[in-house]
Amino acid sequence: MQTPRTSRPLLNLPGWLGLPVLLFLALALFYPLGRILVLGFTEGLPVALTNPYYGLRLAWSLAYGLGSSLLCVGLALPLAYAFRYRFPGRDFLLGFSTVPFVLPTLVVAMGFLSLVGPKGVLGLNLYGTAWVLFWASLLYNLGLVLRPLVALLPALQTPLAAARTLGASPLRAYWRVGVPLLLPALLSGGSLVFLYSFTSFGVPLLLGGPRWATLEVETYYALAQRLAFPEATALVLMQLAVTLVVLTGYLRLQERLALGIGGYGSPLPLAPRQAVGLALLVWGFFLVLYSPLWNLLWRAFERPAAWLSVWNSPDFTPGSLALFNTLGFAGLALLLVLPLGVLYAYAVWRGYRLLDGLGLLPLMVSPVAIGLGYLLAYPGWRGSLLILIAAYALLSYPLLGRALLPALRAMPKGVVEAARVLGAGPWRRFVRVEWPLVQKAAFSGMALALAAIMGEFGATLTLQRPEWATLSLAIYERLGRPGALPFYEAVVLAVVLMGLSMALLALLERGFRQRGEF
């Protein structure tokens, strides 16, 4: 017998908890995006569609996304097999592999410029080539595919062994059992890499030159140089259409993936000689892959004068102001991120399904589009700090929310119930019982959100006022300027920014085990 589903009232407890988040999303995401849609459809698309150039830009963005994801998956798979074994430094490398993902784009771009740029140490100028962009994409995203794969591979052993027992040849067992089991992970990792590369901004803007501009970069050019709002919105529309299709696919895969697979199996032992050989191979690969970052550190100390001049340079934003702005804005944004992230996690935890997907959306829309949307939607607020802070909060609260959620779900129900039975009110329960239990996850989530804010580049550049220059903008300002000193000052600022993010990550790693979904 079928029981009629009673639709729950919209404003039960999770509804009330989620209301501020929905309200914020409406104001900070949906309304501005709506304005983009309207302008894009009415004025922008006719212009953009008659211009073959934008078709080429779309094609390149797609090729960049697709190429990056194939590259990452293609390299992550053999690496994941290497990581099944125990070798010196294995855990460190595995842990480090996702660190570049949270490094500010400007830091990574500076690393490449200092190694293979026009002023690079190698004397090899890859600036303006597609090679450097694919390399950067690999450096950024490899860990995103690698880590889930390493976690997944041990779980394949039992089904594979079962297939063998039932008489399948190794190849056949792998083809019929292993590959289907791996496929969702490969596809989901691949589509995540696609999303990040397809919408990437800082790296192609700084390293690609006009020839390899992605849609995101082209949007910025149209806006900042020509104030061509309709064209910019049309480009955003093209990008949004692709992103939504891939994102939907990704979320589907995520649901399938969430089943069954958990935890890292312990690595297999290896004879000492083989272990050393494997270590050399894997370490060599990662040293080359990350060489732009090592090089950046090295070059920061090549010209000590830059460490002094950068704080008070007369021609550029002084480093001290940029540092002050970066920390100040991050602090202000945190005042919004904290309630939004906590409310989001609580509402979803208590079963507010609608918010679950919606709340993820900010991670997937492009920061330049957000900036453009704000300029269109709130012309009276152009150039006000509130707009920038709202953009920061929007782009980073899901990171806190997603970090908090697994911790909430893992909370022993009995403890909370016991507190309730013993007479504790909701607020008291939250402060005395729930908060201490999820505190660690909350801090790591905050660190992640803060790192994202401090390195933010696209929205900052779109919404900026010159006196608000953050570290990212102060680096950007110094690039492409004459002389060696501005270049070295940019290197110094990039190292400072990297240091800040790493310090936050150290905080993040403390609560790492409680972080689940990315």
């Binding site: 020509r226 602090g331 006022r465 010159p466 004459p482």
Partner: protein
């Protein structure tokens, strides 16, 4: 509970820090090439009690866009450095408020192009091609404007993007004046095929890509006064008697440029802004402009420094009527972008007009 206290403290500190800005500071949005003598500025600050803060907003076009985008919550009190090619954009965007400075009567009348008194001329000059004399010592120079697109001079020229740079825009307008509405796109298509390099702004072109600065391009779009500036700043001992660079005055390849100052609507320091404009047009500041920004002062009786005898005035600069510029500028920039940056053919772009 610790968290709440921590957050409260953080919020308090931030508000205190953000509120500690000085009340009598006047902010002036300028392009990257802005420069005036520090002593002169300090003197003005002492006499007026107004602290000046200069905000560099990129090249002229980019700077003006920033001012337009922040309309309503202006990022500065005064904007200096938009020129006659951008004047109509500034006026149409309605970001300036009128101010009839008493100093206007002392300025050259031909520069007073804005009848609504929202933009006051500060200086003028000529955007012109410059070349590196050392490079062309035993090589022939281009003789006609169209020669720049011939294979003989392939990959020698660096220009600025007219979408973001005012000398870049001035040079684009010169090509429109020289080759006409239809011909200018063909000229640019040929230039592109001939390997012209496009960069964002003047300082990037001159200080990074020009051979004098260690770049690989011996031809650059700059100013007619740049050779004089080269000599003035020369650190060679003894000082050379001639500049290391020279103007390349191909017929109609130079463009007359006037730079303006305006008070941004919504300023809270109107009196101070007006005093600053008066001061910028006064004789001491005007006489400081030539050797700081390498343009001619707008004030009639301002004396020119001695080194300006090396700054020649182009014999036949290109001219376009202000209304014509206002009417077609955006389309010219768009078409230029399609041909030069996006690599489309001039014919295809014209066909879509």
């Amino acid at each position: 509970m610790h968290l709440a206290r921590w957050l409260f403290g953080l919020g308090f500190v931030l508000t205190a820090l953000l509120a500690s800005a000085q009340p009598t500071t006047l902010t002036i949005l300028t392009h990257d090439s802005f420069s005036l003598d520090k002593n002169l500025i300090a003197q003005f600050e002492r006499q007026s009690g107004i602290r000046l803060r200069f905000l560099k907003g990129g090249d002229a076009g980019e700077m003006l866009n920033k001012a337009i985008l922040s309309k309503g919550a202006p990022i500065a009190d005064v904007i200096y450095g938009f020129d006659n090619t951008l004047l109509s954009r500034a006026l149409q965007a309605d970001i300036l408020q009128p101010y009839r400075s008493p100093e206007l009567s002392a300025l050259r009348p031909e520069l007073l192009l804005d009848q609504t008194f929202r933009a006051a001329p500060v200086d003028f000059g000529y955007v012109a091609l410059n070349y590196d004399r050392a490079y062309f010592k035993d090589k022939p120079l281009p003789e006609r404007f169209a020669d720049l697109a011939s294979p003989e001079f392939a990959r020698l020229l660096v220009v600025q993007n007219p979408a973001s740079s005012s000398p870049g825009l001035a040079f684009l307008l010169a090509t429109v004046a020289a080759f006409g509405e239809d011909g200018y796109l063909d000229f640019w298509e040929n230039l592109r095929k001939n390997g012209v390099r496009v960069v964002g702004g003047w300082s990037d072109a001159y200080y990074t890509h020009f051979t004098r600065a260690g770049g690989d391009r011996p031809l650059v779009v700059s100013y007619s006064t740049s050779p004089a500036a080269e000599l003035y700043y020369s650190e060679a001992k003894p000082k050379p008697s001639e500049p290391p660079t020279a103007n390349l005055f191909l017929p109609r390849s130079s463009f007359f440029q006037v730079e303006y100052v305006g008070i941004l609507k919504g300023t809270r320091n109107l009196r101070a802004a007006q005093r600053f404009v008066d001061w910028l047009l006064s004789r001491p500041a005007q006489e400081n402009i030539p050797t700081q920004m390498w343009v001619y002062p707008a004030r009639r009786e301002a004396r020119l420094p001695e080194v300006f005898r090396f700054a020649a005035v182009p014999p036949e600069p290109a001219r376009l009527a202000p209304q014509q510029i206002a009417q077609h500028r955006e389309r010219w920039i768009r078409e230029w972008t399609q041909v030069v940056v996006q690599g489309q053919s001039a014919e295809a772009v014209r066909a879509r007009r």
